[in-house]
Subunit: 312 residues, 2 copies
């Protein structure tokens, strides 16, 4: 049985200068490590403001290769603090080929692996399909010294398939680096519903899969020309039964420390044995885009007598 350990979600408020954001990340990671955290997670695209509010080709200049300078700097922090650091980055993979990625840096300072965001959103003020090629890494988990973890990024958090695939690969903790907030024109009417849906669907993944979910958001208002997002912070950790163990402020930077007891994964799954009962013989349709237009009415699978009228 492993001993409980601490993780840290580094909720930041990025400014315009990437170097300042990286310095802040280094400082907050060292502070979290000093408080005893052994796995640290930064928010999605933490090194810059959320440039996807606009489609502007000059913003591709913010990207960098992996390995590259940011990973080198944070790898040094991981090495010196003996921590695992999840570093979400705007990845330049090749000429004209960019991803929304997250490097997992091991306590040896190396890049252990790289996840490339698989589900790419595109909504007003979140024009990610302009910038990011959908990932080709698939969904997977990796061993760190303290836990087997998976990284998924923001929009992934709405897809039960992503969480399930990570769980089936043995993940005990899902980390969700995120950049999500309110559009000012929507907040009054839809703000609380959006926030609660975001929290609920991820707690649902934790419950359905019997694992911890740790979501790291940025906080604060960012504006680009006429577009504005109020990032809602609220980084949180859900345990395998959907209980919120810790939750950050909605409007400020914060290092959210949470103690994780992995024995709860086995304990929860013994009592809620969902993995035992999956009907993998009947899930083929999950690989389809839509089904209601591609197969005959379902009554065809039943006795013909069911479709005959028995009343006049």
């Amino acid at each position: 049985m492993t001993e409980p350990f601490r993780i840290a979600l580094i909720q930041t408020t990025p400014e315009n200068d990437p170097e300042a954001n990286l310095l802040r990340a280094e400082r907050m990671c060292r502070e979290a490590a000093a408080k005893g955290a052994v796995i640290l997670c930064l928010p999605e695209l933490f090194r810059s403001r959320y440039f996807c509010q606009k489609e502007d080709a000059t913003f591709f200049d913010l990207a960098e290769p992996i390995p590259g300078p940011t990973v080198d700097r944070l790898g040094t922090v991981a090495l010196e603090t003996e921590t695992t650091i999840i570093a979400p980055l705007f990845e330049k993979r090749g000429p004209g080929l960019y991803h929304n990625s997250a490097a997992i840096l091991s306590p040896s300072g190396d890049i252990q692996t790289l996840y490339r965001k698989m589900h790419i959103p595109d909504d007003p003020s979140y024009y990610e399909k302009f910038y990011f090629t959908p990932g080709d890494t698939g969904f997977f988990a990796v061993d760190t010294p303290h836990a087997r973890i998976a990284v998924l990024i923001c929009w992934d958090q709405w897809f039960p398939e992503a969480a399930r695939l990570a769980a089936l690969d043995g993940a005990e903790i899902l980390f969700y680096p995120t950049a999500i907030g309110w559009l000012p024109q929507e907040k009054a009417e839809f703000g609380e519903t959006q926030y609660d849906a975001w929290r609920t669907v991820q707690r649902g993944h934790a419950i359905a899969n019997g694992l911890f979910a740790a979501t790291v958001n940025r906080a604060g208002r960012e504006e680009i020309e006429d577009s504005s997002i109020e990032f809602w912070g609220g980084s949180f950790v859900s345990d395998p039964q959907g209980r919120v163990l810790a939750e950050a402020a909605r409007d400020a930077e914060e290092i959210l420390m949470t103690e994780i007891d992995l024995s709860l994964v086995e304990e929860t799954r013994r009592n809620w044995p969902f993995l035992r009962d999956r009907r993998i013989d009947a899930y083929d349709g999950l690989l389809q885009r839509f089904r209601s237009d591609t197969h005959p009415p379902s009554s065809s699978s039943l006795d013909p007598s069911f479709s005959s009228s028995k009343r006049r």
Copy 2:
């Protein structure tokens, strides 16, 4: 655009006599129809107490064929009230072959289709694997006069795969007839967590799939020999954004009426377009039982350079 309409979740407290329970169901269905409901849903195995608290072969006597007497009686109610009735039944399919099923009865009084519970639980006091052969109907949706609906039963409610498959088949409302409650020895310590997880995971399905989820539970304490369950009622309807539109008492019978505006399905999915972005090219692993023991470490999919140490 369809007009809003009403559905009714018939939360009952079954007694020992199946005929009394069926009479109660008929009466409550007629009452719900009189209040304007057009789709009515009864709880799982509503015609009897929850016999699965014990493994006792004499309880197979409670089963009946479909078509059969209960479906005939409720079909008459459907015909006379011009409603769709979801009738969950203990189905005797053949000698020694039983299912936990739900018939969908159309306003013509006919059996439109039959769903057989696909995920079968087995936990202390819920010995369903003794009684029920796992269903062979798969997951599907069917058209009723007012909405395209899917029926899933109890344990199914914990499986995101079931909800997704129903959604991909065009379901606008998921109905979950259920029999879930607290074991007295667990309630004080785990009761609220269990209740909240149950509610959360189903609201999560509504959100992830952009549809309504309508869950119908039974209420009240039932005892068989030394086993006891306090069924927690709390039938509820979640809208496609996870908002709980209506919720029944935890400890009493109730006809829970809810107005459904199906335009919210399209409206929600336009703003949260999850179905647009599913990565069906990367979901194959969902058809596997487990993956962490059946494939090489995920870093193999990355540049070989990532696994070489760059620090000394």
